[in-house]
Each structure stands twice: as C-alpha cells, then as structure tokens.
C-alpha cells in the first residue's frame, strides 16, 4: 500500500476531499492555502484528533487510519508530533517537564542524549526551569517544537507554528526551524499561508483550495504554475534555487547562478558555493521584446513565454529561462501592445529578488 494521505470529510457546507503524498521521504511538505481551505482539518485527521467520514493515512508503512477496513489508531498511539498554532504548552509544568512529557510516555529515558541535543538545537538551555507564562512568544514556540520532537515522532505536523508571532519573532524562529529540518530525518507537514516561510523551508508543496488539492509537487514547480489562485489568494511569485557564484564586495553585491542564468543581488553573507532559495515576485518582473539599453535594473535575462493567463486588467505570464520558471505580472494592455504569445522570446527585467535563508546540505 502506498504511503500518504487520503481524506474525505463533510462538515456542514465545508467539504474536504484531499489526497496527497506525505511521509515516504524526509523533508518538508508545505500544506498551503487560504484560511478555510481545510488545512487544520487535515492536520487533525492525520494526528488522530478527528475521525474523518472516510480516509486512509499511511506513514512509515503503518496504516494509522483506514475507514474501509475499520482501522483507527487513536491519537495517543500514533506517535505523531504536533505543533499547534496556539502551541498548547502545559501551563503548570516547567519547560523541562513540558519537553519530557511525550518522551516519558514513549518510554524514552529522560537521560536520553536527545534531550540535551534538542535543548541545544532550540536554544532552550537557560529556560528549563521556567513556566511557560514566563517565556517570550518565540521561546514558547521553541518549547512546543522541542516537546513534539522529543517524543521521537514518525512525522511532525506543524500547524502554522509562526502565525502568532510578529515579523521579528518569526525571523528569530525560522533559523531554528531550518536547523531542525536539516538535522532530523523526520518527514514534516508544514501548514502555512505565508509563502516566505514556505519558500525557506519546504521541499514539496501541496496547495489546497476549498477542501481540494489543486496542485502538488516540488516547491519550484508548484510556485511557477499560473492557474492556482485567483484574486487575493494568488501566489506572489516563483521560488528558485541558486548558487552563490561570486561576491563583488566593492559594490556590496553577490552574483547568483541559477538554471536560467545569473542574477546580481545585494551581498549575501555566505561563502561562494552555498545554495540559496530566492523568490522573484511576479510584480517585480518586467518584460521587453528587445534587450533594453540604459536601464537601471541589473538583471536582464532572455526568456521564452510558456503560458499566459489573463485575469481582468492583469495578465500573468509564465517564462522559461533555461530550466527555471518565472512569472511576470503585466497589464492586459501591455500584453496586447507587445503581442505576447506562448513561445515569444522576450527579455525579463528583474527589479528585486528576495533571498531566503536556506542552505542546502
């Protein structure tokens, strides 16, 4: 039987009917979608806190749920770590007692070196004797992460663990999450509606809309698709992987090499050869039919149009640059004026690049 998730559940007008691959390999699968898309229902069903009307959940070759065969392993025996959006730390227990709560119940000795390692990994050394009410928001998130990790879970479900934090706190936690992703081999399902978080952490991406999976695949492929969302829920742009090719310290710039050419970006404090994730928002890409002369943009790359999707006054244009894909958002008027069609060769002017923090091992 194949690994993965298949769930069908109806609750009033809400209808969930989703199936996707998860758990057959380590790495982060992002579950992406607007609120009300069914993300939390999926998390609850996988964790065993909700019994769907029909479904199947298989992880590490073990069937945790199969409504057809009448299998329902209760949550406490699933060994799935969950980090809830509201964290749900035990308020009467110290950080240390919170951390070992799941460990003890999994019959892992609390002298386990994993405890010391996790405390170190999450920077919780000085906080072990504190009560959760004496922690900052970021420290609470880290404690919840540690508690879920230490039960030695077969998979980790993260339900918007950063949603309650403001931007600086998020920036504080993300590096910890990245380290976690690299140092553990646990498959993770990361629920988010922030493409920034997803771009930094995820390997694969599952996009939900109205209770259905509308796209599934590698992060790079999914973010380069045109027709996933409409209106406010559209993805803002493509995520690419690039290597730091060289630094131009006199101008404070770095040069990145990616499948579609090279990009000049503000200096990245990383050694040459490191891999980084970059995001190029569709609004930051302009198109020209001929190579423009005398423009301020540093990055002008030849590209070929692969698809076009018009949506009212705007048009999203999918571009192929070598093996990489980008999306440019232009006005429908420009689309007509330039007579852009699939296969038209253009030049993409990239005004801005968001560099994610993720290193590739």
């Amino acid at each position: 039987m194949s690994e993965g998730i298949w769930l069908r559940h109806e609750l009033g007008v809400f209808k969930l009917d989703a199936s996707f691959a998860f758990g057959d390999a380590p790495g982060v699968t992002a579950l992406f979608g607007a609120s009300g898309a069914g993300k939390s229902t999926i998390i609850h069903a996988i964790a065993g806190l909700l019994r769907p009307q029909s479904g199947r959940v298989t992880l590490n070759g073990q069937v945790l749920l199969d409504t057809e065969r009448g299998i329902f392993i209760p949550a406490r025996r699933r060994r799935i770590g969950v980090v809830f959006q509201d964290l749900r730390l035990f308020p009467h227990l110290s950080v240390r007692s919170n951390l070992v709560y799941g460990m003890r119940r999994a019959r892992l000795p609390s002298s386990n070196p994993a405890l010391r390692r996790t405390v170190q990994l999450l920077g919780l050394e000085g906080l072990l004797e504190r009560k959760p009410s004496m922690l900052s928001g970021g420290e609470r998130s880290r404690t919840a992460l540690g508690r879920a990790l230490l039960m030695n879970p077969r998979a980790l479900l993260l339900d918007e663990p950063l949603a309650a934090l403001d931007a600086p706190k998020k920036a504080e936690i993300l590096p910890y999450l990245e380290r976690l992703v690299h140092e553990t081999k646990i498959p993770m399902l990361y629920v988010s509606h922030s493409l920034d978080e997803v771009a930094q952490l995820a390997d694969r991406m599952v996009v939900l809309n109205g209770g259905r999976v509308v796209a599934e695949g590698s992060l790079f492929d999914v973010t380069a698709q045109l027709d996933l969302f409409t209106g406010a829920h559209r993805l803002p742009g493509a995520v690419l992987e690039a290597t730091i090719a060289c630094h131009d310290l006199s101008h404070g710039l770095s040069e990145l090499a990616f499948a579609g050419g090279t990009l000049i970006v503000p200096a990245i404090p990383r050694p040459v050869g490191d891999k980084v994730r970059i995001r190029i928002d569709a609004d930051d890409v302009m198109l020209a039919l001929v190579r423009p002369e005398g423009v301020s943009a540093n990055n002008v790359l030849p590209a070929a149009i692969t698809a076009i999707r018009q949506d009212g006054a705007n048009a999203d244009v999918q571009l192929a640059l070598g093996g990489a894909h980008l999306i440019a958002r232009i006005t429908s008027r420009s689309l007509e004026r330039l007579e852009l069609k699939p296969a038209t060769r253009v030049f993409a002017l990239i005004k801005s690049v968001t560099v994610g923090g993720r290193e590739q091992a």
């Binding site: 964790a47 065993g48 806190l49 209760p74 949550a75 406490r76 025996r77 699933r78 060994r79 799935i80 770590g81 969950v82 809830f84 509201d86 749900r88 730390l89 035990f90 308020p91 009467h92 709560y101 799941g102 119940r105 999994a106 009560k131 959760p132 009410s133 508690r147 879920a148 039960m151």
Partner: protein, 234 residues
C-alpha cells in the same frame, strides 16, 4: 492555652472539635465524587446531562430536614440499606458522628462540584488534545493535567464546603439527633443553649465563634485559590 481554654466550657470545646472533625471527614470523603461529577459535567456531553446537573445541585435547594428524613429512612438500622451496612460491615450512620459527616458531605457536595467544574472549564480544551498526541491516555490526562490545573478550584471548593459543613443543622438533628459528644456539633450546641434557661450567654459565645469560623473559611478559600492559580501558572 489556659486562657483560651477558659473561653469555652469543656462541652463547648467538644462541640467545636466534633464540628471540625465532621466537616473534615465530610469534605474529604466527598472530594473524589465531586471531582468525578465536575469532570463529567465539564467534559462530557450525554443525554440526561441536565437531569444529572440538577441532581448534583439538588442539596442546594432541598430543605436539609427533608434530606435528614430521607437519610433516616434509608440508613436507619431497620431500613434495608442501613441493615445491610450494619450486618455486613458493622457501619452504622444513625445517631453517630459519621452520619453527621454523611449528611454534611451530601449537603455541601454542590459547593465542591461548582468550584472544581469552573476550574476544569477554564482549562483550554486544546491542552488535553496536545497531551493525547504526546501519548497520554484518559486516566493519565486526569492526573497529569486536569487535577493539577484544577487545583485552585479543588482547594477553594474544599475550604468553602468545609465552612458550609460547620453550619449544617437541619439534616444532622433529623438524621443523627442531638447527642452530646457524638453528634452535637456547634450549631446543635447553639440550639441546645437557646433551649436551656439561662443559656443566652453560651449561645452568644458559640454564635460569635461560628461567625468567626465562617468568615475565616471564606477568606482562606479566596486566598488559597489566588495563590494556587499563581503556582499553577494558569
């Protein structure tokens, strides 16, 4: 101590000690049942819950004399239940201080249930789910989460119920009578003093003592619950 001892007569000291003993046994014996009832009321949904809730709260509105009568006809030595307990376990409630404790426990049961239930309901539902995902079964969750988190309510309920026990009169005098040294608690001693010619002074003394005890109980309940809430961090 000698000066204190002179404040009350030996018989009055006896009544005070008996009152404290009855109240202590009553609240301690009632606590496990009160916790279970509160847990059921706070966490479960089932048909007939309103009726169950009503029965739990019945002692609040039932005339204590009526309860004393009900206890008398169920636990009297000639009543089936009373005869059974006496024959098999040698337990006799009528005309014994344990009967006074039983009546007090039933009458102050709602105080305990209410305080514990409020505490349990204040616990966010998600905490139990988080514990479940970490491998904790239902009984484990009761001991590792619900009891410690409800501790402020449990203690507040205990102290309130204890103070209320000290005031029980109707059910006790009906069920176990007014036997000096056995069932004559403070309120019964006050009643006896009033009935006795020239006992006004004793009645006033005992009434003042009762007021002081009741007040102390309420203040203590409040203090304990605030202090526990801080310790628990809830």
């Amino acid at each position: 101590m000698a000066a204190m001892a002179g404040l009350l007569t030996p018989a009055e000291w006896e009544a005070l000690a008996l009152s404290l003993r009855v109240a202590f046994v009553a609240v301690m014996a009632g606590l496990p049942f009160a916790f279970l009832a509160a847990l059921v009321l706070a966490r479960c949904r089932f048909p007939g819950k309103a009726l169950f809730d009503g029965i739990v709260h019945l002692p609040l509105v039932l005339p204590p004399v009526a309860l004393g009568y009900l206890l008398l006809i169920s636990f009297g030595t000639r009543a089936p239940l009373g005869a059974f307990l006496l024959a098999n376990f040698g337990i006799r409630f009528v005309f014994s201080w344990t009967g006074a404790a039983l009546a007090s426990a039933i009458l102050t049961f709602p105080f305990q249930v209410r305080a514990i239930r409020l505490s349990l309901e204040a616990e966010s539902a998600g905490i139990a789910e988080a514990a479940e995902c970490l491998g904790a079964g239902p009984l484990d969750r009761v001991f590792s989460l619900h009891i410690p988190l409800a501790a402020p309510g449990i203690l507040a309920g205990l102290v309130t119920a204890f103070a209320a026990c000290l005031g029980e009169f109707g059910a006790i005098i009906t069920f176990v009578s007014n036997i000096p040294g056995e069932t004559r608690t403070l309120p019964l001693a006050i009643f006896t003093a009033i009935q006795t010619p020239g006992g006004e002074e004793a009645a006033a003394r005992l009434a003042t003592l009762s007021i002081a005890l009741a007040l102390l109980g309420l203040v203590l309940a409040d203090w304990v619950s605030r202090r526990m809430r801080r310790i628990v961090g809830a």
